[in-house]
Amino acid sequence: MPAVQDTIDRVRKIDVDQYKYGFQTEIAMDKAPKGLSEDIIRFISAKKDEPSWMLEWRLEAYRRWVTLDEPKWARVHYPKIDFQDLYYYAAPKSTPGPTSLSDVDPELLRVYEKLGIPLKEQEILAGVQKTDASELEEASDNVYKSGRVAVDAVFDSVSVVTTFKKELAQAGVIFCSISEAIREHPELVKKYLGSVVPTSDNFYATLNSAVFTDGSFVFVPKGVRCPMELSTYFRMNEKNTGQFERTLIIAEEGAYVSYLEGCTAPQRDENQLHAAVVELIALDDAEIKYSTVQNWYPGDAEGKGGIYNFVTKRGDCRGHRSKISWTQVETGSAITWKYPSCILRGDDSSGEFYSIAVSNGYQQVDSGTKMIHLGKNTSSRIISKGIAAGYSQNTYRGQVSAHRKATNARNFTNCDSLLIGDQCGAHTVPYMEAKNATAQFEHEATTSKISEDQKFYVMQRGIPEEEAIALIVNGFVKDVIQQLPMEFAVEAQKLIGISLEGSVG
């Protein structure tokens, strides 16, 4: 079945030509010289005031990186990247380590205002600081009702500001830039950094370990439910820079945190490199929800420019009964190479991966997940919806594996894709590896498997089948998107209406 007109129109609305975050801003920048060498790494490390162990860590990664080749297995094609032709450090010139918004370049704040992200909370934040203690208490009671979000804003290489820090600190939650964490909480960083994605993990992760300039750090202590959504907003602004951020989230026993990530970049003819690493650690009974709205500049309609997005994201369900859930809405980037994964190490732990990937123009997406079942009674669930239009290629690549000791591992995978037009491609490459007889893996890639009961229920009320399916699928997608704060979900919301009739495996 071909896609219906309604779907085509909706996808067109989020077409590459209409990228609305493509503006660039003139901001005085502090840059390292082009290229990559041990000296540049020393420079970055010095700029960040890092302790010597951190520098050693970076140098070790760099020395390893030099011996590596770029991975070639993904279904993406691009000219060879000249890693010496990039700036590895670019930071807005500003007072060192801005502590409050008043220290931040107003031009920079205007950027975020333009992007419509909740840095506007500067006012709220200011208000909070002035209120007395009782009002503050009331505020924290209402955090969910008011839908407030604490934001860490990363501009090119550095974190410019983090909001709501004080309120979070009251709950015991540490939310700051990773550079600050390296300085202020070295014991935590030392313990957890690189414990999920080791420096030797893969080409881009190794590069990131050597040159990462900033990113977010979240620590939720034992038994604490983080009182608000945390988020990071990444903005790439400077020409010819690579953005390498590193995010580390730790949820101690029984803790809960929901984290959101959004990204945009200006419209440029050159390709820009983004190679991030995200590490999540969930101890016993902890839960981490990680959501991404990825909207890097995808290139123009002819495929010129755009971000190369090579990201390593991995969560480690280290404790028993822990849970990690990845949600991603991928609409941007010229090339996406991204596999948010879960290592289900603790017994009874569970991992989830929900993804909507929309590609248009000449975008190439190769994304999916890995669910590695190591502990007993672990379960995972993968729901992936790919929509390809224009000349784009959209690949789902996912791995589910059960190791010898992973008794009663359960997995359910469902990946559907939809093609709009005959110039694009949709591909599904699932890997299933079972080494335990009690493992139960199911993989399906058909839309007909939507619960017959649900469909019957809806159709019985006079709604035609196609609409019924759309309604059910949208109901599910909505669940995912509603987790995101409004400001982030603008692009994502447009996808809600996209039904998957005419889908192919």
Partner: protein, 422 residues
């Protein structure tokens, strides 16, 4: 990963390269054929595929192929009775075809060694891709086999059985079959033998317009044998092919299935059973190209894994840009019966056309406890109940074949395996 390395040749690689220079003078072929052999051995010289090569991800041939036996001219393989009684048998014993060719109306049979000597088979010797290690191995060493031509409109009432039997050493065999327009045939490809043999076998099938073929591959090698096989088919307009693959033997087995629909209305069906036991490795890899509009395919693979066996199924369906209205479905179901066994599957879809219906499903599980309970509640002991359920799981695939004699013959093979492996 990705660290620069200069790989050293493994003993198996060295043995193959040495065997080639030793055998060269004995290999039949005209100039073109010999040139293709040279190209093929060059491909082997650059190394056997490793898991870095995507199509060999689960079968690291370089690591798994630990030894290569010498050619054994003294080995004597015995002819065996055909799977279906009354079939016309074309035996290849230890890599040598028979001089006695059957005389059946509408069928022309030639020894492949003759086709190699006169060079007429040369175009078929090309590898289909850079990762075609089995094709390269076979092209380098192939010495015999059969060429069978079934004339237009011929309808065979008895199957033809192509036997490849060995008793150790190395054999490299090729079967090339053309089925004329509107012809109908059942062809059995029998792969069996004893001893620690290295076997490469390539079958090529060309179906002309409206041809209808059922091709059964019955592989029952000794559990010491390395069996590297390839089945390649081109389906013309309205051609219909039902391929049935049964793997029930071998130590290291890779069966590749490469099918391309080149005519509208072509219909391909694959049914496979992998019965895996002992400390063995079995890999079935399929690449299916839907190259033209309005073609259909369905694949169902059922696997039973016992002991320390490792099984692999990789299936890739490519739907080309103009292949609109393709209807492709693939399913791979595995019963993993032992904690030491493992099964890996990779069902891939590559789709470039928008008006298609494609789907795939894959499951790995153990025996359903409620089914077991149902049978045991009726007084059947656990072992028998398990046996019944496992047999039902695979027999379902056989029963779909609409030829009673064949269903019976295959079920007999199945029973034989269950008796041997409990």
């Amino acid at each position: 990963m990705n660290i620069h390395t200069t790989p050293q040749r493994t003993p198996a690689e060295t043995a193959l390269i040495d065997a080639f220079s030793d055998r060269l003078s004995l290999l039949p072929g005209d100039g073109t054929v010999m040139l293709k052999r040279d190209d093929a051995i060059e491909a082997i010289k650059s190394g056997l595929p490793t898991r870095r090569i995507e199509s060999w991800h689960y079968t690291d041939l370089r690591r798994l192929l630990t030894s290569v036996p010498d050619f054994d001219p003294a080995a004597v393989a015995k002819a065996i009775a055909p799977v279906v009684e009354g079939s016309a048998v074309l035996p290849v014993l230890n890599g040598v075809s028979s001089t006695k060719l059957p005389d059946i109306d509408g069928i022309a049979v030639q020894r492949l060694s003759e086709k190699l000597t006169d060079g007429s088979i040369a175009p078929g010797l090309d590898a289909y891709g850079a990762d075609d290690a089995i094709g390269a191995l076979n092209t380098a060493f192939v010495a015999d086999g059969y060429f069978v031509d079934i004339a237009d409109g011929t309808e065979l009432d008895k199957p033809i059985e192509l036997q490849n039997l060995q008793a150790g050493g190395q054999t490299h065999v090729r079967f090339s079959v053309r089925v004329g327009a509107g012809a109908k045939a059942v062809i059995v490809e029998r792969q069996a033998g004893e001893g620690a043999a290295l076997v490469s076998s390539v079958s090529q099938l060309l179906l002309e317009e409206g041809a209808d073929v059922m091709w059964l591959i019955v592989q029952e090698q000794a559990d010491t044998a390395t069996h590297l096989a390839q089945f390649k088919a081109h389906l013309g307009k309205d051609a219909k092919l039902t391929l049935f693959v049964m793997n029930a033997g071998g130590n290291l087995v890779r069966q590749e299935v490469v099918v391309r629909t080149t005519g509208e209305g072509a219909d391909f069906t694959l049914r496979g059973i992998n019965l895996l036991a002992g400390d063995t490795h079995t890999d079935v890899t399929m690449v299916l190209d839907h190259a033209v509009p309005h073609t259909a395919s369905t694949e169902v693979i059922r696997n039973v894994v016992t002991g320390r066996a490792r099984g692999v199924f990789q299936g890739r369906i490519n739907v080309h840009q103009y292949a609109q209205k393709t209807n492709a479905k693939m399913a791979c179901n595995t019963l993993l019966l032992s904690d030491d066994g493992e099964f890996s599957t990779k069902p891939e879809l590559e789709i470039f056309a928008d008006d298609v219906v494609c789907g795939h499903g894959a499951t790995v599980t153990e025996i359903d406890h409620s089914h077991l309970f149902y049978l045991m509640a009726r007084g059947i002991d656990e072992k028998t109940a398990r046996g019944l359920l496992v047999k039902a799981f695979v027999a379902e695939v056989i029963e779909e074949l609409d030829d009673e004699a064949i269903v019976e013959a295959l079920e007999a093979r199945l029973d034989g395996w269950f008796v041997a492996h409990g």
